[in-house]
Amino acid sequence: MDAANYLYLSALLFTIGAVGVVVRRNAIVVFMCVELMLNAANLAFVTFSRINGDLNGQVVAFFTMVVAACEVVVGLAIIVTIYRSRRSASVDDASLLKR
């Protein structure tokens, strides 16, 4: 099977994630879209590892998973805190850092 197909899939997943981040207001959904983008990158890394025949890409994928896990912990904590104080999980409501 052609390895390029995995890359197309990766690009598709990344695009879906990116569009989701820009379009959706719910913080949880935005968060899941970010995860989707990370996993798209992981898929690309693993594919390249396969194409090149070495393990570098696989190793980086594990690192990405660790970073993603940390990100989930911190991100969910922030979202829960925002929800508690504002009774809303919309990212547009939390827009105090403007001019």
Binding site: A18, V21, V22, V30, V91, D92, S95, L97, K98, R99
Partner: protein, 630 residues
């Protein structure tokens, strides 16, 4: 060269006096003037001791040097702080300390009513130290330190009574005009260093032959500018008249006998440069000739006795400059006239001070008159100085001035005849204005102010005047007997051996000069002695007199040519500074602020728009890399 360790005491003693008097403050008020007088007197003693040593040595070994310390040592540029006492400097050392001591003694009494007398003596001592450093320095850089020092002392002393705004302004004027000259000296030093590679007198003298005439001419002209500034020569002469704002002893010491002759010293000291740069030498002669007439003409119209004497000083220094510009034949006569002038002009200034002392500090000669009976000693001493400046034989001026006139005629061709005529004419005008001073002050009717009670000055004042009067009578004869001074200075100057025939026999020159003097005296006599002198200067006088009363428009000229354009330039520069330089600085700040507030709109606070921007940015970056790689 012979070395000596005692040269430094010449300078150190008065400098110590100045330091003590300035630091001790009011505590020294009781004894400050005594210490201040002892210091130059002991310097004079050291000078006499050095002279006796010098006389005991053979001609070649007479110059004495002393290295004080290594001053500047940068790469190939080395300057030691060193002193040089040779046949030329010793003349100056003895004049400065001798006349200086006499004037200190005079000042004890003259300044006795002034509560700042101690400060006055401190400044006088500072002046003596700086002037000695000027004449003793063995390089142009050492000379420069003394040169600036006398400028400072002159500034402090002209403005000694700076509670009067006019006097403070006069001191500033003198200082600023002197700065113009000082700039010339610093340029001369820089050119000398750049072209010759050394700034010591001996070093430059050795390398004169290898140096281009252009460089020497440039150095010479810059030295002439320096000399013109310090010696009140054309075109930097305007400060001397105003400098009379200082106390009279200052006028006598600094603005008649010593400091203003520093320019003549500089030219004479730099004889090796001027001898090799004929253009610069010609300029020296021209400046001297112009100033000698310029000063004399101003002198004819001044009613202020000190300003009349100041104009006369300017004119007499013109004689010296002219003589110094005539080359090796003239240097000795320039120095001789400088020494005799030091005696008679200092004496006359002290006489003027004595008259002012008795007349409630009145300086207007139109309010004097008939003082001969009330101030006999002042009259006699002033009169002897008067005869000396006129050049009546056998008084001092006869020997020195006639020599200059004679040498001027011998300059050759049209130049000689022109210079000779100028010096002769100057002698005539000198006779006119000095006779005018004598008549207005000492003879005729009383035109005093009502509260004037003229009286002879105390002995502390007339004793220095008497000693200077003896000098005015005898110095010319003593210095020229058997060409004493000429032979003394002979080894310092280069000489052409060829014998020059005199254009006019010395006796003819003397007769001509005396005729001119007689004419001058006669005109003054008929104008001021036969007619009643108005107590207030008449207004309906000729245009020429009006111009002469305003110092031949020198101030107006300076204001129109230098001051106003200078002020305009300053204004333009201020505007440029505000508009261009400040504008650029402020503009940069404004640009940052404006672009900041424009970009602030991007900060919407919406996370999604930030994310969109990041995507756009990343896409652009990838696009750019794509384009580059393709």
């Amino acid at each position: 060269m012979t070395t000596s360790n005692s040269l430094v005491y010449l300078i150190a003693l008065p400098l110590l006096g100045a330091t003590i008097l300035l630091l001790a403050g009011r505590r020294a008020d009781k004894w400050g003037h005594i210490l201040g007088t002892l210091m130059p007197a002991s310097s004079f003693a050291v000078g006499l001791y050095q002279l006796s040593l010098m006389l005991g040595r053979s001609t070649e070994e007479r110059p004495v040097g002393q290295k004080l310390f290594e001053w500047i040592s940068v790469g190939s540029f080395k300057v030691d702080a060193g002193l040089l006492l040779d046949q030329l400097s010793i003349c100056f050392v003895l004049l400065i300390t001798g006349v200086g001591t006499l004037i200190h003694i005079y000042s004890i009494s003259y300044m006795s009513h002034d509560k700042d007398r101690r400060r006055f003596f401190a400044y006088l001592n500072l002046f003596i130290a700086a002037m000695l450093l000027l004449v003793l320095g063995d390089s142009y850089l050492n000379l420069y330190v003394g040169w600036e020092g006398v400028g400072l002392a002159s500034y402090l002393l002209i403005g000694f009574w700076n509670q009067k705004p006019a006097y403070a302004t006069a001191s500033k004027k003198a200082f600023v005009m002197n700065r113009v000259g000082d700039m010339g000296l610093s340029f001369a030093i820089m050119i000398a260093f750049a072209t010759v590679g050394t700034v010591s007198f001996a070093g430059i003298k050795e390398q004169v032959d290898q140096t281009s005439t252009g460089a020497l001419t440039a150095i010479g002209i810059m030295l002439l500018v320096a000399a013109a500034g310090k010696s009140a020569q054309f075109p930097l002469q305007a400060w001397l008249g105003d400098a009379m704002a200082g106390p009279t002893p200052v006028s006598a010491l600094i603005h008649a006998a010593t400091m203003v002759t520093a320019g003549v010293y500089l030219i004479t000291r730099s004889n090796f440069i001027f001898d090799a740069a004929p253009t610069a030498q010609l300029l020296v002669v021209i400046v001297g000739a112009i100033t000698l007439l310029f000063g004399a003409l101003i002198g004819t119209a001044k009613d202020d006795i000190k300003k009349a004497l100041a104009a006369s000083t300017m004119s007499q220094i013109g004689y010296m400059t002219l003589a110094a510009g005539l080359g090796p034949v003239g240097y000795a006569f320039a120095i001789m006239h400088l020494l005799t002038h030091g005696f008679f002009k200092a004496g006359m200034f002290l006489g003027a001070g004595s008259v002012m002392h008795g007349m409630n500090d009145q300086v207007n000669m139109r309010r004097y008159g008939a003082l001969r009976k009330f101030m006999p000693i002042t009259f006699v001493t002033f009169g002897l100085g008067y005869l000396a400046i006129l050049g009546v034989p056998p008084f001092a001026g006869f020997y020195s001035k006639d020599m200059i006139i004679e040498t001027a005629f011998d300059a050759g061709g049209i130049k000689g005849i022109l210079l000779g005529s100028v010096t002769l004419l100057g002698a005539g005008i000198t006779a006119f204005y000095m006779t005018r001073v004598m008549i207005l002050t000492f003879t005729g009717t009383k035109r005093w102010e009502e509260d004037a009670h003229p009286h002879e000055s105390p002995w502390l004042m007339w004793l220095p005047m008497a000693i200077l009067a003896i000098g005015s009578v005898s110095s010319g004869f003593l210095l020229s007997r058997g060409d004493a001074l000429e032979n003394w200075l002979h080894p310092l100057f280069s000489h052409s051996e060829e014998y020059q025939k005199h254009l006019l026999e010395p006796i003819v020159v003397s007769a001509l000069a005396l005729t001119m003097v007689a004419i001058g005296v006669a005109i003054a006599f008929f104008k001021y002695s036969r007619q009643e002198v108005a107590a207030v200067a008449p207004e309906n006088v000729s245009v020429l007199t009006k111009i002469a009363r305003q110092d031949l428009m020198q101030d107006r000229f300076n204001e129109a040519v230098f001051m106003r354009p200078g002020a305009q330039l300053t204004k333009a520069l201020v505007k440029t500074d505000e508009a261009v330089i400040d504008g650029a600085v402020r503009g940069v700040g404004q640009l940052a602020m404006n672009s900041g507030s424009a970009l602030r709109g991007v900060q919407s606070g919406f996370v999604r728009s930030y994310a969109a921007l990041i995507f756009v940015g990343a896409a652009l970056l990838i696009g750019a890399i794509w384009v580059v790689v393709q």
